[in-house]
Every structure is written in structure tokens, then in C-alpha cells.
Subunit: 247 residues, 2 copies
DNA sequence: GTCTGACTTTGATGCAGATCAAGGAGGTCC
DNA sequence: GGACCTCCTTGATCTGCATCAAAGTCAGAC
């Protein structure tokens, strides 16, 4: 099973990498078969817009691989990212015609799309899909509220540390690390990080440099980050709770 | 039917003021009867904490009347409001033991609470409750994302105008106004507004004064606001879309 | 009536982060 | 090789909001 197969739709849900985390996680075989009938895959190269805010949207779907962002833009060009979509995250809203946000692929992106009308019908008829979607939406709401604290009350340094902590935690969760160090790639440009954090790209750059000089992180190239002391990073982020890092 | 009756639980759902907007909106008579068995009312005086973040929470529920807030607090005391709960809004999360945020009554508050365990059982068995909760959660997620733009990218003046616009729109929606002016009460102290907007209370006070001097709003006392030109207010808020104001 | 405390307003000053500006690193195309 | 991107870093300066401080307003208790 390679990406090429995925892109051509030659994939059964049973083999899907996000089978147990996406909106279909709870589906039984019959339900899965039904989903399979209304699904199709779409891929987007890094940088491409998936959909513009306000556009008619005739599908909903899941991120299979890669990373996408949701952003809002004001008339004068100020931009705020309001969501970071990782594999298994859901895109679109049942019952709504138009997209509410710009959706952009920040890396090469593969999406599993469902035609909207039949998906909405399924939502009503099969409870497992709606239940799972509720669970995922509640998680997203928690994440959004967490981010409101970051945007509203944290300093620039804390904001950067918070973002790095999210990425580091995700990386740590992906697999047992051979060393205690967490190593990960920044999937966002400095500008995209600024849009996420409500900062300017210059401030992002400066604060990353500062965290490097203060030995909180080690940069290997511009996009690879090594975190030796995760608790230290959390401290810098202003988080009290120590998240569940393995090791 | 008076508040006193409500507080004592002497109320059938049929007469409930939030019957058609709350989590029970879609329920049929039989479902309603079942909800009625597991519900009870609680009232809180203005200023009282409904629940502390981290506390065990053995109920979920709806705001029947009054206003409550969700806030997050950092170790050093920085606070960010992450939700404003108006009548019909839902409190708590099925499937979670502990409260994630502090919930505080900012006005006298009446809540319709459901015992958590039986409510969770109902979520699984009756689709209408889960469907309605999904819809409400998606709306809340949209509101949270809207607020992320406010927190991350708007100036202090725009933040205040945005909050006033939300309150004004809600008031306008409540009933046909006899005049074109929208008149409403601020349900929050300056400090609570600051917590909502990621500002200090001094900045809130100054910006409200500035909007008054610039004739965007008229203050009648400290807590009553008159908005003569709603479009002007939206302009000040940096919103392009003109929301659906009647008249 | 006065006292008290919660809430609000206004002024003076300081600083974190924005803005303006320049240059560096690394990639791709020719 | 050089030209030309895009992305990133760093420096100098400016400014919007925070901070520190003091006084005003109003309702309720007595």
C-alpha cells in the first residue's frame, strides 16, 4: 500500500491509516461498506488551497496524511489561523452549504472525502457516525478553548513554547522514541506560525532564536527541532500540568 | 409560572422557556418524559461559582435563565474567559469526569441539570439528544473560532466593539425593537469583559469611554448601552459582513 | 444621614511586540 | 556558474496596551 494507491482511491477502509481515529472509527463493517460507496480521495500539493471561505462545499472529509490549516482573514488582510488539521481530523460541517474558513494544505495532503448529501443521510440513520463526530467536535472545542488562553493571555515566548509543546507531544505520542529526546519537524513556515499565534513572523523568529540560545530547544536546520527536556518546555509554555510524555 | 416555581423544580418541560433551543429541542414527548425523570433545577446567585475546574462533575445541564462564564486560569493568576453561557447553552461534557473550566454565574442563574450517568445512557439510546448536542457543539466551535480571530488579531477598540456587537445582536434577535435603536444591558463587569477580550480592565474602560466620545454608543449609566447605528458598530469591530439586524 | 466596599474612570509611565528595514541561507532554473 | 526565488534572521525604532497610581460613583448597611 503506497501513497500512489491511496491517491487513486485503490484502498479499502480496512487498511486505512486513520481507520480507528477518524469519524469512521466506530463504524461496523456494514456501515463502513456504505461509507466506502460515497467516498473518494483527493490529494493536494503543499501550499495549495483546498477550499476558500464562502465557497460552496459539496463534500466533508478526513485528513488521511499531511497537514492542513483553517484560517480566517479580515478585509485588511489580517489573518488568524483557527485550526490545525492533522491526520484523522474532520473537515466540513454537515448541514452547512458554504465553507466557513479557508482550508489550505501546508504539506502535501491526502484527504478522504465523502459526498455531503449521502453523508448527511448517514448521520441521521447510523448513530455511530454522529456519535464519533460529536466526540471529535468536543475535542476540537477543547483545543480551541485552550488556544484562546494562548492567544489572549500568553507572552510571545510562551506562545511559541506552547506550539512547540503541542508538536512535540504529538511526535512523542506517535511512537516510542529510542532516546529521551523528542525530535520533530516544524510543519509550518514562520509566517504560518505567526498566523497561528497572533504574532508577526519577525517575533516568531526572534522567540525561536531566544529559546535556542536559552537551550530550551536545539535547532537542526531551520525546520528540525530537538527537545531534550520536555518539562522545561512546558514550563516555558506556562503550562502547569505535565502532559503524558512517555519515557 | 414564576422563577420561584422554577427554582423548586415545579415545572414541566412543556412550559420551559428554552424548550425549543436547548439540548432537548428535538425530543419527542416520550423522550421528554424520560429527561424529566432525571432532571432537577439548581439556582445560583450572581457571583457564585457553579463548579471549579478539575472538580468531579456528576451532572450536565442547560442554562435556563441568567448568564454564566467559562474561564481558564494560569498558575500565576492570568485568566481567560473561554465561553459565555447564555440561556439554552449546554454545560458539561458527556463522558468526562472532571470539569475542564471554572463555571461562574455572572448574574443570578437558573440551571436545568441532568444526572450524568442516565443522561449518557440516553445519549446512546435516543439519537435526538446526541444530534442536537452535536449541532450545538458545532455552533460553539464556530463561536470559539470567531473569538480566536478577535483575541489574536483585533485591536482593543475592535475587541470591545466586537463584544458589544455580539450583545447587541442577541438583544435585537430577542424581539422587535420599537425603535431602530438597540438598547441592552452589559451583563459583565469591566474585569469580566477584560477576561473575555484578553485585555486589562483599565483598557476596557478607556475603550468604552472612547467609543462613547466618538458617538458609536451611548451609555445610560455604567451598564446600559444604546446603539443607534449598528452598521457603524460592526465597522468599528472590523467585521465586514453585516449581520442580520432587523429593521 | 454617613460609612463601606465593589466597581469604574482617568492619568502617568514603561515595555513587549509591531513595524520598518536590510541582509543571509538555501533552493531551483537557466 | 549566476539570477532569482522563498524563507528566515537580525537590527533599529515606534506604539498600543499594560502597569502603577489615585480618585470618582453608587448601592447597601446601619
Amino acid at each position: 500500500m503506497v501513497a500512489h494507491d491511496l491517491a487513486l482511491g485503490r484502498q479499502s477502509c480496512g487498511d486505512c491509516p486513520i481507520r480507528h481515529r477518524a469519524v469512521c472509527a466506530r463504524c461496523e463493517d456494514a456501515e463502513l461498506a456504505r461509507l466506502e460507496e460515497i467516498k473518494y480521495y483527493r490529494s493536494f500539493p503543499a501550499g495549495q488551497t483546498v477550499i476558500w471561505s464562502g465557497d460552496q462545499m459539496d463534500f466533508v472529509g478526513s485528513v488521511v496524511s499531511g497537514i492542513a490549516t483553517l484560517t480566517q482573514t479580515m478585509e485588511d488582510g489580517r489573518r488568524q489561523m483557527v485550526g490545525l488539521l492533522l491526520p484523522s481530523d474532520f473537515v466540513g460541517r454537515p448541514g452547512r452549504m458554504a465553507a466557513a474558513y479557508d482550508v489550505t494544505a501546508t504539506t502535501d495532503l491526502l484527504m478522504c472525502c465523502f459526498r455531503k448529501k449521502p453523508f448527511e443521510a448517514m448521520m441521521i440513520e447510523t448513530p455511530h457516525v454522529a456519535q464519533r463526530l460529536l466526540e471529535m467536535t468536543l475535542d476540537e472545542l477543547d483545543a480551541a478553548r485552550e488556544w484562546m488562553l494562548v492567544l489572549g493571555r500568553k507572552t510571545a515566548r510562551e506562545k511559541i513554547a506552547s506550539l512547540l509543546a503541542i508538536l512535540a507531544r504529538r511526535q512523542a505520542a506517535l511512537g516510542a522514541q529510542q532516546s529521551r529526546d523528542i525530535l520533530f519537524e516544524l510543519p509550518l513556515t514562520r509566517e504560518a506560525m505567526a498566523d497561528y499565534l497572533g504574532l508577526t513572523l519577525e517575533t516568531v523568529s526572534r522567540q525561536i532564536s531566544a529559546l535556542r540560545q536559552d537551550r530550551v530547544i536545539v535547532l537542526e536546520g531551520k525546520r528540525h527541532v530537538r527537545v531534550a527536556d520536555f518539562d522545561r518546555l512546558l514550563e516555558e509554555a506556562g503550562d502547569d500540568s505535565d502532559g503524558g510524555v512517555p519515557g
